[in-house]
Amino acid sequence: MPRNVHPLTVVQLYTDYLNGLVNGLFSDSRLVSLKGPAPSLRVIACFQDGAFKSIEFGPAAHLFFHQLVEVIERPGGQQVQVQSYTYIFGLSPDREDQSAWLFRYEYERAGNPDKPHAHLHVNGTHGTGQFDYDKLHFPTGRISVEQVFAHVVLEHDVPMRVSKAEAVDRLRESHAGFYERRTDLRLDPPLFP
């Protein structure tokens, strides 16, 4: 069986930070990092009882959170670099159900010539029937999970543990930190398409 390990790693600090946001604002849902033989890679997700689950927003909404991260050695110390993310907002009481999704944000640092590095899918169809929005990759900048949380707070009326104003303030502050920590703006070539 998988073992529980508790080294105070930079990934653990990052995961704890994310859990602080989730547990302070929404629910007791818990993100964990999954570690295998690959020394520098981790998956961060809700993983309980041997299965992937979602961050719970009350009884009928949830966010499936999945990041593949790599620990990078920098002159100032170790840093967590997100290699890919998937954030899927769903409207279902079942935290394992990914079928009742409304939108899906995705990002791949390595990129793919067929689609934008960071993009949005929407679960819907154009009125003419010509376009399935879930098949289209609407380009976005790389977004923070705080931006997704703020959207959920402001537009989906999910139950929260603090007032809406306090939640948005906390998320704004955390989002600013996301921009301060990002290295791809300084070190990587501009992302296209």
């Binding site: 390990v5 653990q12 041997g50």
Partner: protein, 66 residues
């Protein structure tokens, strides 16, 4: 389904390569109805749908085992 909360869930869970193989099996069956070995074959052959988030999750698990 009953909502599950997990304040006591550990922050980090370590898997051996064999345990990750089992998880890849489990997730491949749930997502595509195929075994992990077939998932890996299709991955190498470029036969997997590239827009399925479940596929991306499983590929990430395979990377953890590398």
């Amino acid at each position: 389904m009953r909502a599950v909360t997990a304040k006591n869930t550990p922050t980090e869970i370590e898997f051996t390569a064999e345990e990750l193989d089992q998880l890849v099996d489990q997730e491949s069956l749930a997502a595509l109805g195929i075994k992990g070995s077939e998932f890996k074959r299709r991955l190498m052959a470029g036969e997997l749908p590239n827009d399925n988030p479940r596929v991306r999750e499983i590929i990430a698990l395979i990377k953890l085992a590398a």
